[in-house]
Protein backbone atom coordinates (compact mmCIF):
# COMPACT_ATOMS: atom_id res chain seq x y z
CA UNK A 1 0.00 0.00 0.00
CA UNK A 2 1.21 3.51 -0.69
CA UNK A 3 2.41 5.31 2.37
CA UNK A 4 3.76 8.50 0.84
CA UNK A 5 2.60 10.05 -2.42
CA UNK A 6 4.40 13.11 -3.76
CA UNK A 7 2.82 14.63 -6.87
CA UNK A 8 4.30 17.24 -9.21
CA UNK A 9 6.08 19.10 -6.43
CA UNK A 10 7.73 22.43 -7.31
CA UNK A 11 9.63 24.77 -5.01
CA UNK A 12 11.33 28.03 -5.90
CA UNK A 13 13.59 30.34 -3.92
CA UNK A 14 13.29 33.70 -5.63
CA UNK A 15 14.45 33.03 -9.15
CA UNK A 16 15.99 29.67 -8.37
CA UNK A 17 13.97 26.52 -9.04
CA UNK A 18 15.01 24.04 -6.37
CA UNK A 19 12.45 21.42 -7.30
CA UNK A 20 10.57 21.05 -10.56
CA UNK A 21 7.70 18.66 -11.06
CA UNK A 22 8.97 16.01 -8.66
CA UNK A 23 6.79 12.95 -8.18
CA UNK A 24 7.51 10.02 -5.92
CA UNK A 25 5.67 7.03 -4.52
CA UNK A 26 6.80 5.21 -1.40
CA UNK A 27 5.19 1.95 -0.36
CA UNK A 28 4.76 0.91 3.24
CA UNK A 29 7.78 -0.96 4.56
CA UNK A 30 9.94 0.05 1.62
CA UNK A 31 13.61 1.02 1.81
CA UNK A 32 14.09 3.90 -0.61
CA UNK A 33 17.40 5.55 -1.36
CA UNK A 34 17.69 9.07 -2.74
CA UNK A 35 20.87 10.15 -4.47
CA UNK A 36 21.99 13.15 -6.45
CA UNK A 37 24.78 15.71 -6.57
CA UNK A 38 24.95 18.63 -4.15
CA UNK A 39 22.32 21.21 -4.87
CA UNK A 40 20.06 18.77 -6.69
CA UNK A 41 17.22 19.42 -4.28
CA UNK A 42 17.32 16.39 -2.00
CA UNK A 43 17.14 18.31 1.25
CA UNK A 44 14.56 20.68 -0.21
CA UNK A 45 12.42 17.68 -1.06
CA UNK A 46 12.74 16.39 2.49
CA UNK A 47 11.92 19.81 3.89
CA UNK A 48 8.74 19.91 1.81
CA UNK A 49 7.71 16.40 2.84
CA UNK A 50 8.30 17.18 6.52
CA UNK A 51 6.77 20.62 6.51
CA UNK A 52 9.79 22.83 7.02
CA UNK A 53 9.03 24.34 3.61
CA UNK A 54 5.83 24.83 1.64
CA UNK A 55 5.92 24.01 -2.08
CA UNK A 56 4.44 26.32 -4.67
CA UNK A 57 2.67 23.61 -6.60
CA UNK A 58 2.06 19.94 -6.17
CA UNK A 59 0.79 17.83 -3.33
CA UNK A 60 2.01 15.48 -0.66
CA UNK A 61 -0.18 12.76 0.76
CA UNK A 62 0.76 10.60 3.74
CA UNK A 63 -1.30 7.46 4.25
CA UNK A 64 -4.10 9.01 2.26
CA UNK A 65 -4.12 12.34 4.14
CA UNK A 66 -3.18 15.50 2.27
CA UNK A 67 -0.40 17.06 4.30
CA UNK A 68 0.86 19.60 1.77
CA UNK A 69 0.14 22.57 3.99
CA UNK A 70 -0.02 20.88 7.35
CA UNK A 71 2.18 22.27 10.12
CA UNK A 72 5.37 20.29 10.60
CA UNK A 73 4.66 19.17 14.14
CA UNK A 74 1.31 17.77 13.04
CA UNK A 75 2.98 15.68 10.35
CA UNK A 76 5.29 14.30 13.02
CA UNK A 77 2.26 13.29 15.04
CA UNK A 78 0.92 11.48 11.99
CA UNK A 79 4.10 9.43 11.90
CA UNK A 80 6.77 11.21 9.83
CA UNK A 81 10.17 11.64 11.45
CA UNK A 82 13.47 12.91 10.13
CA UNK A 83 17.09 13.42 11.00
CA UNK A 84 18.94 16.55 9.95
CA UNK A 85 21.92 16.69 7.64
CA UNK A 86 23.79 18.81 10.17
CA UNK A 87 22.73 17.49 13.57
CA UNK A 88 20.61 19.87 15.61
CA UNK A 89 20.79 18.64 19.19
CA UNK A 90 19.18 20.44 22.09
CA UNK A 91 22.65 21.30 23.37
CA UNK A 92 21.69 22.67 26.76
CA UNK A 93 19.74 19.51 27.63
CA UNK A 94 20.91 16.03 28.55
CA UNK A 95 20.66 13.14 26.12
CA UNK A 96 17.76 11.72 28.09
CA UNK A 97 15.89 15.01 27.92
CA UNK A 98 16.65 15.29 24.22
CA UNK A 99 14.89 11.98 23.64
CA UNK A 100 12.21 12.76 26.24
CA UNK A 101 10.95 15.75 24.25
CA UNK A 102 9.60 13.78 21.28
CA UNK A 103 8.34 11.12 23.68
CA UNK A 104 6.39 13.68 25.64
CA UNK A 105 5.09 15.53 22.63
CA UNK A 106 4.24 12.64 20.36
CA UNK A 107 4.35 9.11 21.67
CA UNK A 108 3.04 9.81 25.16
CA UNK A 109 0.93 12.82 24.30
CA UNK A 110 -1.96 13.21 26.68
CA UNK A 111 -0.73 10.54 29.04
CA UNK A 112 0.90 11.03 32.41
CA UNK A 113 4.60 10.61 31.83
CA UNK A 114 7.20 10.69 34.54
CA UNK A 115 9.31 7.61 35.12
CA UNK A 116 7.96 5.73 32.11
CA UNK A 117 9.32 8.35 29.75
CA UNK A 118 12.77 8.33 31.26
CA UNK A 119 12.84 4.55 31.07
CA UNK A 120 11.85 4.52 27.41
CA UNK A 121 14.33 7.30 26.60
CA UNK A 122 17.18 5.35 28.13
CA UNK A 123 16.04 2.28 26.20
CA UNK A 124 16.29 4.20 22.94
CA UNK A 125 19.70 5.54 23.85
CA UNK A 126 20.79 2.00 24.67
CA UNK A 127 19.80 0.86 21.18
CA UNK A 128 22.16 3.49 19.80
CA UNK A 129 24.93 2.60 22.19
CA UNK A 130 24.65 5.94 23.97
CA UNK A 131 23.58 4.58 27.36
CA UNK A 132 26.69 5.74 29.25
CA UNK A 133 26.27 9.35 28.15
CA UNK A 134 22.58 9.42 29.03
CA UNK A 135 22.91 12.21 31.57
CA UNK A 136 25.59 14.17 29.77
CA UNK A 137 24.75 17.36 27.93
CA UNK A 138 24.10 16.92 24.23
CA UNK A 139 26.56 19.67 23.46
CA UNK A 140 29.43 17.43 24.56
CA UNK A 141 28.89 14.59 22.07
CA UNK A 142 31.20 13.62 19.22
CA UNK A 143 30.08 13.82 15.60
CA UNK A 144 29.01 10.18 15.42
CA UNK A 145 27.34 10.50 18.84
CA UNK A 146 25.33 13.45 17.57
CA UNK A 147 24.12 11.47 14.58
CA UNK A 148 23.08 8.59 16.78
CA UNK A 149 21.21 11.05 19.00
CA UNK A 150 19.44 12.42 15.90
CA UNK A 151 18.36 8.90 15.11
CA UNK A 152 17.29 8.14 18.68
CA UNK A 153 15.13 11.26 18.77
CA UNK A 154 13.55 10.45 15.42
CA UNK A 155 12.76 6.94 16.60
CA UNK A 156 11.22 8.29 19.81
CA UNK A 157 8.44 9.65 17.64
CA UNK A 158 7.53 6.01 16.80
CA UNK A 159 7.48 6.90 13.14
CA UNK A 160 5.89 5.02 10.30
CA UNK A 161 8.08 6.92 7.86
CA UNK A 162 11.67 7.72 8.82
CA UNK A 163 13.66 10.10 6.64
CA UNK A 164 17.42 10.09 7.05
CA UNK A 165 19.28 13.05 5.58
CA UNK A 166 22.91 12.03 5.05
CA UNK A 167 23.03 10.39 8.43
CA UNK A 168 26.36 8.75 7.59
CA UNK A 169 28.20 11.78 6.29
CA UNK A 170 31.67 12.13 7.71
CA UNK A 171 31.66 8.76 9.42
CA UNK A 172 34.44 6.22 9.19
CA UNK A 173 33.93 2.94 7.38
CA UNK A 174 33.34 1.09 10.64
CA UNK A 175 30.88 3.71 11.84
CA UNK A 176 29.02 3.52 8.54
CA UNK A 177 28.54 -0.21 9.00
CA UNK A 178 27.38 0.37 12.57
CA UNK A 179 24.82 2.91 11.45
CA UNK A 180 23.69 0.71 8.59
CA UNK A 181 23.05 -2.17 10.99
CA UNK A 182 20.94 0.08 13.20
CA UNK A 183 18.93 1.35 10.25
CA UNK A 184 18.37 -2.17 8.93
CA UNK A 185 17.07 -3.20 12.35
CA UNK A 186 14.63 -0.29 12.29
CA UNK A 187 13.46 -1.33 8.86
CA UNK A 188 12.86 -4.90 10.08
CA UNK A 189 10.40 -3.50 12.60
CA UNK A 190 8.24 -2.34 9.71
CA UNK A 191 9.29 1.31 9.53
CA UNK A 192 9.39 2.74 6.00
CA UNK A 193 12.74 4.40 5.40
CA UNK A 194 13.83 7.14 3.00
CA UNK A 195 17.60 7.44 2.97
CA UNK A 196 19.47 10.31 1.36
CA UNK A 197 23.12 9.43 1.03
CA UNK A 198 26.28 10.07 -0.92
CA UNK A 199 27.97 6.92 0.34
CA UNK A 200 27.24 4.56 -2.53
CA UNK A 201 27.90 1.28 -0.84
CA UNK A 202 25.41 2.15 1.87
CA UNK A 203 22.78 3.03 -0.73
CA UNK A 204 23.44 -0.11 -2.73
CA UNK A 205 23.25 -2.40 0.25
CA UNK A 206 20.30 -0.75 1.88
CA UNK A 207 17.87 0.32 -0.81
CA UNK A 208 15.22 -1.72 -2.53
CA UNK A 209 14.71 1.17 -4.91
CA UNK A 210 16.73 4.26 -5.70
CA UNK A 211 15.61 7.67 -6.91
CA UNK A 212 18.15 10.03 -8.45
CA UNK A 213 17.64 13.78 -8.45
CA UNK A 214 19.48 16.30 -10.55
CA UNK A 215 18.87 20.04 -10.69
CA UNK A 216 15.53 19.64 -9.00
CA UNK A 217 14.15 16.90 -11.20
CA UNK A 218 13.81 13.14 -10.90
CA UNK A 219 16.05 11.56 -13.50
CA UNK A 220 15.93 7.94 -12.44
CA UNK A 221 13.64 5.75 -10.31
CA UNK A 222 14.41 2.01 -10.32
CA UNK A 223 16.25 -0.76 -8.49
CA UNK A 224 19.75 0.12 -7.37
CA UNK A 225 21.56 -1.85 -10.05
CA UNK A 226 19.51 -0.32 -12.84
CA UNK A 227 19.97 3.22 -11.54
CA UNK A 228 23.72 2.86 -11.18
CA UNK A 229 23.96 1.47 -14.69
CA UNK A 230 21.87 4.33 -16.10
CA UNK A 231 24.15 6.39 -18.36
CA UNK A 232 22.45 9.64 -17.33
CA UNK A 233 23.17 8.95 -13.66
CA UNK A 234 26.75 8.04 -14.48
CA UNK A 235 27.18 11.29 -16.37
CA UNK A 236 25.84 13.29 -13.44
CA UNK A 237 28.14 11.65 -10.96
CA UNK A 238 31.26 11.16 -12.97
CA UNK A 239 30.96 14.39 -14.88
CA UNK A 240 30.76 14.72 -18.60
Amino acid sequence: MTLLQVNALSKRFGGFAALTDVSLTVRAGERLGIIGPNGSGKTTLINCICGALTPETGSIAFDGTDVTRLAAYRRTRLGIARSFQIPRPFSSMTLVDNVAVPLEYVAHRGLAGGAGIRHEAIGLLEQMGLRESADALAGTLTQVGLRKLELARALAVRPRLLILDEVMAGLSSVEVDEMLAIVFAVSQRGVTILMIEHIMRAIMRFSQRVVCLDAGRVVADAEPAAVVADPMVQRIYLGG
Partner: protein
Protein backbone atom coordinates in the same frame (compact mmCIF):
# COMPACT_ATOMS: atom_id res chain seq x y z
CA UNK B 1 5.73 15.96 43.73
CA UNK B 2 7.81 16.33 46.85
CA UNK B 3 9.59 19.46 45.82
CA UNK B 4 6.33 21.38 45.61
CA UNK B 5 5.80 20.75 49.31
CA UNK B 6 9.09 22.39 50.09
CA UNK B 7 8.31 25.26 47.81
CA UNK B 8 4.85 25.85 49.29
CA UNK B 9 6.22 25.82 52.83
CA UNK B 10 8.90 28.30 51.81
CA UNK B 11 6.32 30.53 50.12
CA UNK B 12 4.06 30.56 53.16
CA UNK B 13 7.06 31.36 55.35
CA UNK B 14 8.05 34.28 53.14
CA UNK B 15 4.51 35.66 53.15
CA UNK B 16 4.27 35.30 56.90
CA UNK B 17 7.60 37.08 57.32
CA UNK B 18 6.35 39.93 55.16
CA UNK B 19 3.20 40.34 57.23
CA UNK B 20 5.14 40.16 60.48
CA UNK B 21 7.57 42.78 59.18
CA UNK B 22 4.74 45.24 58.63
CA UNK B 23 3.79 44.95 62.28
CA UNK B 24 7.31 45.03 63.67
CA UNK B 25 9.53 47.21 61.47
CA UNK B 26 9.30 50.95 62.13
CA UNK B 27 11.25 52.38 59.19
CA UNK B 28 8.72 53.28 56.49
CA UNK B 29 11.43 53.49 53.83
CA UNK B 30 12.07 49.77 54.21
CA UNK B 31 8.62 49.02 52.79
CA UNK B 32 8.88 51.72 50.19
CA UNK B 33 12.10 50.26 48.81
CA UNK B 34 11.05 46.69 49.47
CA UNK B 35 7.99 47.14 47.29
CA UNK B 36 10.20 48.23 44.39
CA UNK B 37 12.49 45.23 44.75
CA UNK B 38 9.53 42.83 44.91
CA UNK B 39 8.03 44.51 41.88
CA UNK B 40 11.24 43.79 40.00
CA UNK B 41 11.09 40.17 41.11
CA UNK B 42 7.75 39.90 39.34
CA UNK B 43 8.95 41.81 36.28
CA UNK B 44 12.20 39.87 35.93
CA UNK B 45 10.47 36.52 36.47
CA UNK B 46 7.85 37.44 33.88
CA UNK B 47 10.51 38.47 31.36
CA UNK B 48 12.40 35.27 31.84
CA UNK B 49 9.47 33.06 30.93
CA UNK B 50 9.72 34.25 27.35
CA UNK B 51 13.31 35.48 27.31
CA UNK B 52 15.16 32.84 29.25
CA UNK B 53 13.01 29.78 28.65
CA UNK B 54 12.13 30.39 25.00
CA UNK B 55 14.89 32.75 23.92
CA UNK B 56 12.73 35.65 22.68
CA UNK B 57 13.92 39.01 23.96
CA UNK B 58 11.34 41.58 25.05
CA UNK B 59 12.71 45.14 24.93
CA UNK B 60 9.42 46.75 25.83
CA UNK B 61 8.71 45.38 29.30
CA UNK B 62 8.15 48.94 30.46
CA UNK B 63 5.09 49.18 28.23
CA UNK B 64 3.49 46.05 29.65
CA UNK B 65 4.20 47.32 33.14
CA UNK B 66 2.80 50.76 32.39
CA UNK B 67 -0.28 49.44 30.61
CA UNK B 68 -1.01 47.34 33.69
CA UNK B 69 -0.73 50.47 35.78
CA UNK B 70 -2.91 52.52 33.46
CA UNK B 71 -5.62 49.88 33.23
CA UNK B 72 -5.73 50.03 37.03
CA UNK B 73 -5.96 53.82 36.96
CA UNK B 74 -8.71 53.75 34.36
CA UNK B 75 -10.75 51.37 36.51
CA UNK B 76 -10.18 53.49 39.61
CA UNK B 77 -11.34 56.61 37.80
CA UNK B 78 -14.29 54.92 36.18
CA UNK B 79 -15.71 52.63 38.83
CA UNK B 80 -13.51 53.08 41.93
CA UNK B 81 -12.83 49.38 41.36
CA UNK B 82 -11.26 47.32 44.13
CA UNK B 83 -7.64 46.23 43.79
CA UNK B 84 -8.50 42.66 42.85
CA UNK B 85 -10.57 43.77 39.88
CA UNK B 86 -7.84 46.18 38.82
CA UNK B 87 -5.28 43.40 38.93
CA UNK B 88 -7.38 40.90 36.98
CA UNK B 89 -8.22 43.47 34.33
CA UNK B 90 -4.59 44.58 34.04
CA UNK B 91 -3.44 40.99 33.58
CA UNK B 92 -6.11 40.36 30.98
CA UNK B 93 -5.10 43.39 28.94
CA UNK B 94 -1.35 42.87 29.11
CA UNK B 95 -1.76 39.16 28.51
CA UNK B 96 -3.70 40.00 25.37
CA UNK B 97 -0.95 42.43 24.38
CA UNK B 98 1.62 39.68 24.73
CA UNK B 99 -0.51 37.38 22.63
CA UNK B 100 -1.07 40.01 19.94
CA UNK B 101 2.58 40.93 19.58
CA UNK B 102 3.43 37.25 19.53
CA UNK B 103 0.83 36.39 16.94
CA UNK B 104 2.27 39.07 14.67
CA UNK B 105 5.92 38.27 15.00
CA UNK B 106 6.71 34.94 16.61
CA UNK B 107 6.59 33.21 13.25
CA UNK B 108 9.57 35.30 12.18
CA UNK B 109 13.11 35.48 13.48
CA UNK B 110 13.65 36.49 17.09
CA UNK B 111 14.91 39.98 16.34
CA UNK B 112 11.60 40.94 14.73
CA UNK B 113 9.76 40.05 17.89
CA UNK B 114 12.19 42.22 19.83
CA UNK B 115 11.74 45.19 17.52
CA UNK B 116 7.98 44.72 17.67
CA UNK B 117 8.19 45.03 21.45
CA UNK B 118 9.97 48.38 21.06
CA UNK B 119 7.25 49.39 18.61
CA UNK B 120 4.51 48.43 21.04
CA UNK B 121 6.26 50.38 23.79
CA UNK B 122 6.42 53.57 21.75
CA UNK B 123 2.87 53.20 20.46
CA UNK B 124 1.48 52.57 23.94
CA UNK B 125 3.31 55.54 25.39
CA UNK B 126 2.08 57.77 22.58
CA UNK B 127 -1.48 56.52 23.03
CA UNK B 128 -1.44 57.07 26.79
CA UNK B 129 0.02 60.55 26.39
CA UNK B 130 -2.99 61.44 24.28
CA UNK B 131 -5.58 59.86 26.58
CA UNK B 132 -7.04 62.61 28.69
CA UNK B 133 -9.15 60.31 30.84
CA UNK B 134 -6.05 59.04 32.63
CA UNK B 135 -4.37 62.40 32.73
CA UNK B 136 -2.46 62.32 29.44
CA UNK B 137 1.01 63.79 29.58
CA UNK B 138 0.39 65.66 32.81
CA UNK B 139 -0.57 62.61 34.78
CA UNK B 140 -3.22 62.23 37.41
CA UNK B 141 -3.35 61.90 41.17
CA UNK B 142 -4.62 58.68 42.66
CA UNK B 143 -6.16 58.60 46.09
CA UNK B 144 -5.77 55.35 47.94
CA UNK B 145 -8.56 54.28 50.25
CA UNK B 146 -7.49 53.92 53.90
CA UNK B 147 -5.78 50.53 54.26
CA UNK B 148 -7.46 47.82 56.24
CA UNK B 149 -5.37 45.82 58.71
CA UNK B 150 -2.19 47.80 58.09
CA UNK B 151 -0.91 51.12 59.35
CA UNK B 152 -0.18 52.49 55.86
CA UNK B 153 -1.04 51.81 52.23
CA UNK B 154 2.63 51.21 51.54
CA UNK B 155 2.74 48.37 54.04
CA UNK B 156 -0.41 46.85 52.61
CA UNK B 157 1.01 47.02 49.10
CA UNK B 158 4.28 45.56 50.35
CA UNK B 159 2.44 42.44 51.44
CA UNK B 160 0.36 42.41 48.27
CA UNK B 161 3.49 42.60 46.12
CA UNK B 162 5.09 39.83 48.18
CA UNK B 163 2.09 37.70 47.30
CA UNK B 164 2.40 38.64 43.64
CA UNK B 165 6.11 37.81 43.66
CA UNK B 166 5.38 34.38 45.10
CA UNK B 167 2.65 33.87 42.51
CA UNK B 168 4.93 34.84 39.64
CA UNK B 169 7.70 32.60 40.88
CA UNK B 170 5.28 29.69 41.34
CA UNK B 171 4.06 30.10 37.76
CA UNK B 172 7.61 30.26 36.41
CA UNK B 173 8.65 27.24 38.40
CA UNK B 174 5.73 25.13 37.32
CA UNK B 175 6.35 26.01 33.67
CA UNK B 176 10.03 25.28 34.00
CA UNK B 177 9.61 21.84 35.52
CA UNK B 178 6.81 20.74 33.23
CA UNK B 179 6.70 19.35 29.73
CA UNK B 180 5.94 22.90 28.55
CA UNK B 181 9.27 24.04 29.95
CA UNK B 182 11.10 21.24 28.19
CA UNK B 183 9.39 22.10 24.96
CA UNK B 184 10.37 25.76 25.34
CA UNK B 185 13.97 24.86 26.05
CA UNK B 186 13.98 22.56 23.03
CA UNK B 187 12.68 25.24 20.71
CA UNK B 188 15.18 27.70 22.14
CA UNK B 189 18.03 25.33 21.40
CA UNK B 190 16.80 24.43 17.93
CA UNK B 191 13.39 25.49 16.77
CA UNK B 192 13.63 23.47 13.57
CA UNK B 193 14.48 20.25 15.37
CA UNK B 194 11.80 20.81 18.00
CA UNK B 195 9.11 21.36 15.38
CA UNK B 196 10.20 18.26 13.50
CA UNK B 197 9.96 16.24 16.71
CA UNK B 198 6.33 17.12 17.31
CA UNK B 199 6.67 20.24 19.44
CA UNK B 200 4.01 22.81 18.48
CA UNK B 201 6.52 25.63 18.61
CA UNK B 202 4.25 28.52 17.69
CA UNK B 203 1.63 27.55 20.26
CA UNK B 204 4.24 27.24 23.00
CA UNK B 205 5.78 30.59 22.10
CA UNK B 206 2.37 32.26 22.17
CA UNK B 207 1.68 30.69 25.54
CA UNK B 208 4.96 32.01 26.93
CA UNK B 209 4.37 35.47 25.47
CA UNK B 210 0.85 35.68 26.89
CA UNK B 211 1.89 34.48 30.34
CA UNK B 212 4.88 36.80 30.39
CA UNK B 213 2.75 39.77 29.38
CA UNK B 214 0.07 38.99 31.94
CA UNK B 215 2.57 38.77 34.79
CA UNK B 216 4.11 42.11 33.79
CA UNK B 217 0.67 43.64 34.05
CA UNK B 218 0.46 42.08 37.50
CA UNK B 219 3.60 43.98 38.48
CA UNK B 220 2.20 47.24 37.23
CA UNK B 221 -1.35 47.13 38.56
CA UNK B 222 -0.69 48.33 42.14
CA UNK B 223 1.75 51.01 40.94
CA UNK B 224 -0.75 53.92 40.89
CA UNK B 225 -1.83 53.23 44.45
CA UNK B 226 1.78 52.95 45.53
CA UNK B 227 2.81 56.26 43.96
CA UNK B 228 -0.47 58.11 44.60
CA UNK B 229 0.19 59.59 41.22
CA UNK B 230 0.87 58.40 37.69
CA UNK B 231 2.29 60.04 34.62
CA UNK B 232 3.61 58.51 31.42
CA UNK B 233 7.31 59.39 31.55
CA UNK B 234 8.00 57.61 34.79
CA UNK B 235 5.54 54.80 34.16
CA UNK B 236 7.10 54.01 30.77
CA UNK B 237 10.63 54.61 32.04
CA UNK B 238 13.36 52.84 30.10
CA UNK B 239 14.70 51.60 33.41
CA UNK B 240 11.93 48.98 33.55
CA UNK B 241 12.79 47.65 30.12
CA UNK B 242 16.50 47.43 30.84
CA UNK B 243 16.11 46.04 34.34
CA UNK B 244 13.61 43.39 33.26
CA UNK B 245 16.27 42.21 30.81
CA UNK B 246 19.35 42.71 32.95
CA UNK B 247 18.12 41.08 36.14
CA UNK B 248 17.47 37.62 34.67
CA UNK B 249 20.68 37.72 32.66
CA UNK B 250 22.69 38.68 35.73
CA UNK B 251 20.96 36.16 37.95
CA UNK B 252 20.85 33.39 35.37
CA UNK B 253 18.16 32.68 32.81
CA UNK B 254 18.03 28.91 33.05
CA UNK B 255 15.97 28.72 36.20
CA UNK B 256 13.28 30.66 38.07
CA UNK B 257 15.79 31.38 40.84
CA UNK B 258 17.97 33.47 38.51
CA UNK B 259 15.57 36.40 38.02
CA UNK B 260 14.90 36.43 41.77
CA UNK B 261 18.62 36.68 42.53
CA UNK B 262 19.10 39.32 39.87
CA UNK B 263 16.11 41.36 40.98
CA UNK B 264 17.03 41.30 44.66
CA UNK B 265 20.68 42.13 44.00
CA UNK B 266 20.28 44.70 41.27
CA UNK B 267 17.10 46.13 42.73
CA UNK B 268 18.71 46.72 46.10
CA UNK B 269 21.83 48.21 44.52
CA UNK B 270 19.64 50.52 42.46
CA UNK B 271 17.77 51.71 45.54
CA UNK B 272 21.04 52.45 47.32
CA UNK B 273 22.72 54.11 44.33
CA UNK B 274 19.75 56.30 43.44
CA UNK B 275 19.77 57.68 46.91
CA UNK B 276 23.49 58.32 47.03
CA UNK B 277 24.40 59.08 43.40
CA UNK B 278 22.64 60.48 40.34
CA UNK B 279 19.99 58.36 38.65
CA UNK B 280 21.74 58.60 35.28
CA UNK B 281 24.81 56.97 36.73
CA UNK B 282 22.53 54.33 38.17
CA UNK B 283 21.13 53.52 34.76
CA UNK B 284 24.60 53.52 33.20
CA UNK B 285 25.74 51.00 35.78
CA UNK B 286 22.88 48.69 34.84
CA UNK B 287 23.88 48.89 31.20
CA UNK B 288 27.53 48.20 31.88
CA UNK B 289 26.81 45.33 34.23
CA UNK B 290 24.46 43.85 31.64
CA UNK B 291 27.09 43.94 28.92
CA UNK B 292 29.75 42.53 31.23
CA UNK B 293 27.56 39.61 32.22
CA UNK B 294 26.41 38.90 28.70
CA UNK B 295 30.00 38.66 27.55
CA UNK B 296 31.76 37.12 30.52
CA UNK B 297 29.20 35.17 32.52
CA UNK B 298 26.41 34.25 30.14
CA UNK B 299 24.88 31.79 32.57
CA UNK B 300 24.65 34.51 35.16
CA UNK B 301 25.31 34.21 38.85
CA UNK B 302 23.53 30.85 38.92
CA UNK B 303 25.94 29.55 36.33
CA UNK B 304 28.92 30.84 38.27
CA UNK B 305 27.65 29.18 41.42
CA UNK B 306 27.14 25.91 39.60
CA UNK B 307 30.62 25.98 38.17
CA UNK B 308 32.02 26.62 41.64
CA UNK B 309 30.00 23.73 43.00
CA UNK B 310 31.53 21.45 40.37
CA UNK B 311 28.55 20.85 38.12
CA UNK B 312 28.84 22.27 34.63
CA UNK B 313 26.17 23.88 32.54
CA UNK B 314 22.45 24.54 33.01
CA UNK B 315 19.97 21.94 34.21
Amino acid sequence: MGHWHRFSLGAVAVLAAAVVATQVVDNEYFFYAGYVVLQFVVLATAWNILGGYAGYVNFGSGAFFAVGAYVAVALIKAFAAPLLVQVLAAMAVTGLMGFAVGAMTLRLRGIFFSIATVAVAVICETAVMNWGFVGGARGVAVLAPPPMLFSSTTRLLFVVMTLFALLAVAVARSIQTSWIGRGLRALRDSEEAAESLGVPTLKLKLFAATTSGALMGLAGAPFPLYMNFIEPTSAFSLNYAVSALAMPIIGGTASWIGPVIGAVLLGSVQQIVTVTVSSELNVLIVGVVLVVFVVVAPQGILGLLRRLAGRGGPQ
